[in-house]
Symmetry: C2
Subunit: 419 residues, 2 copies
């Protein structure tokens, strides 16, 4: 225990020291390090694959399930996209240093805001080694030092990746402690990382709900998190049927395991009888299990009865809860009460209702006539995504490079003093 | 203990319910409630003063010190400015609903950000009853429900104010639970308020360092806080002497007890011999005690030796630590190490050094040729201030109405689905 604590605090101290240097770096320095890292990863394919093989072998011996082994695997295609990802981050605009809102005040001073790095970011994630590279690139580009703690099943892969990241930094003439991979599998390392408030400015946990809940509960460092995605589509009385069917189908069946997938469909009572049978037919082709409220069941004999638990469940599976509502107020109330404030969409042609829905739904993304699946950093044009935040402070919704920065005030004067 | 918990949870539940209504309110509704509250406070002067008198009597009987009694007193002038403050908040632009960055993406969807309230804000402060009114107005205007917990010595004053606030809301046709004053002096109420994550979205503690440290340590709800203000002025080799003297004098002597007051003066070694004697003379007129590094002492015989503790101390008093540095690098290193990341200013005519100082000093306000005393919501043109944040997440520096809001993404489509 003592050694893990010492080890983590040493990482923290070095990260803090390195983060001070980052404010002096030019965009070109950071991009050069990223491009070099991409080349080094490319040249290290064999080493990466064999390190990963050791993880996979150990994982199989431990009896890890197929889904976990799949996420753990560094296939050639995944290595390609990992490398491509680093080059894409290098090509993104540098958020650091941007000055906005500079304006002159009565006293004669000019006040504005300058975008700056957060400092040191701790990323805690599961056994997906490609996340190591992705998180390291995003933190470096946004001017932050990072401490990366991946799942213990990926330790060999992460060590091999860490060596490449270090080499990239060193070749670019930067301190290698800008990016540090935690090279112990001791779980106490996480507890230390999330409580070292003097060294770490923010924690971004990425993974399943239990990981994020543990981190949120025990952290003393602020956390940018997303707990779950219970997303809704509400088909209004004034919905265009074709749009409604296309959106409700896409939001559920485009991918089942993602947080922006619809889990509950709300339908206005005047639409239910016409639209639900058509939708049920389309869902049947995708083997989606339907669970409905009593009014849904009276229309769809194939649906199972929904229990009160269903409204609060993130299935991450081909299951959909359906509820018929009397009007938009009931829909909004349902969403604000049972949703997870992630992403919710209305389908309507009514201008006034669309405006009210946008205003009154308290979610990180609120949509009109679009699939919830669009709630994503890439689809929103952020260029990259470290995660999606369902918090309200700091960053809300998809978090890109800008979400890894802060703004400080700058004041330009000519000798002004306060009267 | 159980009753306090129940009481606080009931306040939380009612605040949460009320906060949902706030998204439906127009700016005019909120302003009407504020203007009515101002009138009601104006009409209740006698009640307020007599309630305050009971607090003052009890305080004197308990032997409270003069400074605390002074802050507790609701003088006619304070009531005036309290009422004037409410009217000023009504006149400020409403931050809620502002849509920015709306742009069309390749998929055909339009994505933008809409400014929204945070939800429920808990304010914890000391025995200054005017803060009750100020905090309530700012939270209401920014669309948040608030739970206000003032110091127990001000309980009678706060109850009288709470009655006025409720009357204002009710007369405006709004639910009275939008603003709730905690009417128990049991300290357990604070512990409950800062851990009710399901009901409270953010805590803003206002007061001395020990209050803020306790709240930060025990809170489970996110906290917007400012711990201390160890602010610096650095007089560079290329400083204009007149500006340097004016700024160093104003930053220290304009007010001693404020967080943006300079506590340490850093002087370039080539400037020290000429500027320190002039400054020492000016400080002597204000009875400012000087504590210097060895090089300072060799120039100023009247200064006392500074100990290493001095560099880390927020005096809030007519005391100033002075250190002679070799160059700006040493000044920046001193500031980033010993400062509290609050407000720091350089005095220089050198363009390149000014740009570097702005970039490399890691503080919530970084200034060139201006007094640190400008770090203030009113001076920055925010119109009002709930506090100054030395955190990096969410809000940094003076926090006005905008700092009490968040932004959600909005997506406008024509039936788009994700490919």
């Amino acid at each position: 225990m003592d050694t893990v604590e010492d080890y983590m605090r040493q990482l923290g101290e070095e990260a803090r020291r390195a983060s001070r240097l980052l404010t002096k770096l030019d965009t070109a320095d950071k991009n050069r390090a990223l491009m070099l890292t991409a080349d080094i990863l490319d040249a290290a394919r064999e080493t990466l694959v064999s390190a990963n093989q050791r993880d996979l072998d150990a994982g199989r011996a431990k009896g890890l399930d197929a889904a976990l082994l799949d996420r753990l695997a560094l296939t050639p295609a995944r290595i390609d996209s990992m490398i491509e990802g680093v080059r894409q981050v290098a090509a993104l605009p540098d958020p650091v240093g941007e000055v906005t809102d500079l304006h002159r005040l009565n006293s004669g001073i000019e006040v504005g805001k300058m975008r700056v790095p957060l400092g040191v970011i701790g990323i805690i994630y599961e056994s997906r080694p490609n996340v190591t590279v992705e998180a390291a690139s995003l933190c470096l580009k946004s001017g932050n030092a990072s401490i990366l703690r991946g799942g213990s099943e990926a330790i060999e892969s992460n060590r091999a990746i860490a060596a490449c990241l270090k080499q990239g930094l060193v070749q670019a003439g930067l301190p290698e402690s800008l990016v540090q991979v935690v090279e112990t599998t001791d779980r106490a390392a996480v507890g230390e990382l999330i409580t070292m408030t003097e060294y770490v400015d923010v924690i971004v946990p990425r993974g399943g709900k239990s990981l994020i809940e543990r981190v949120s509960r025990e952290a003393r460092v602020p956390v940018i998190k997303h707990l779950d995605g219970i997303c809704h589509v509400y088909i209004d009385a004034m919905a265009d049927d074709d749009k409604a069917i296309a959106i409700a189908l896409n939001a559920k069946t485009h991918r089942y395991g993602t947080c922006n997938t619809m889990e509950t469909l709300l339908v206005h009572e005047t639409k239910a009888a016409t639209i639900l049978p058509q939708l049920a037919e389309a869902y049947a082709e995708h083997q989606v299990e339907l669970r409905g409220c009593p009014r849904t069941l009276s229309i769809l004999s194939q649906a199972k009865p929904a229990t009160s638990e269903d409204w609060d469940t993130e299935y991450l599976a081909p299951i959909l809860a359906i509820r018929v509502v009397a009007d938009m107020n009931e829909a909004i109330e349902h969403i604000n009460q049972h949703g997870s404030h992630h992403t919710d969409s209305i389908v309507t042609e009514n201008y006034t209702l669309a405006r009210r829905f946008l205003r009154e739904v308290d979610s990180s993304s609120v949509m009109v006539n679009a699939s919830t699946r669009f709630a994503d950093g890439f689809e929103y044009g952020l260029g990259a995504e470290i995660g999606i935040s369902t918090d309200k402070l700091h960053a809300r919704g998809p978090v890109g490079l800008e979400g890894l920065t802060s703004q400080k005030y700058i004041v330009l004067g000519d000798g002004q003093v306060r009267q």
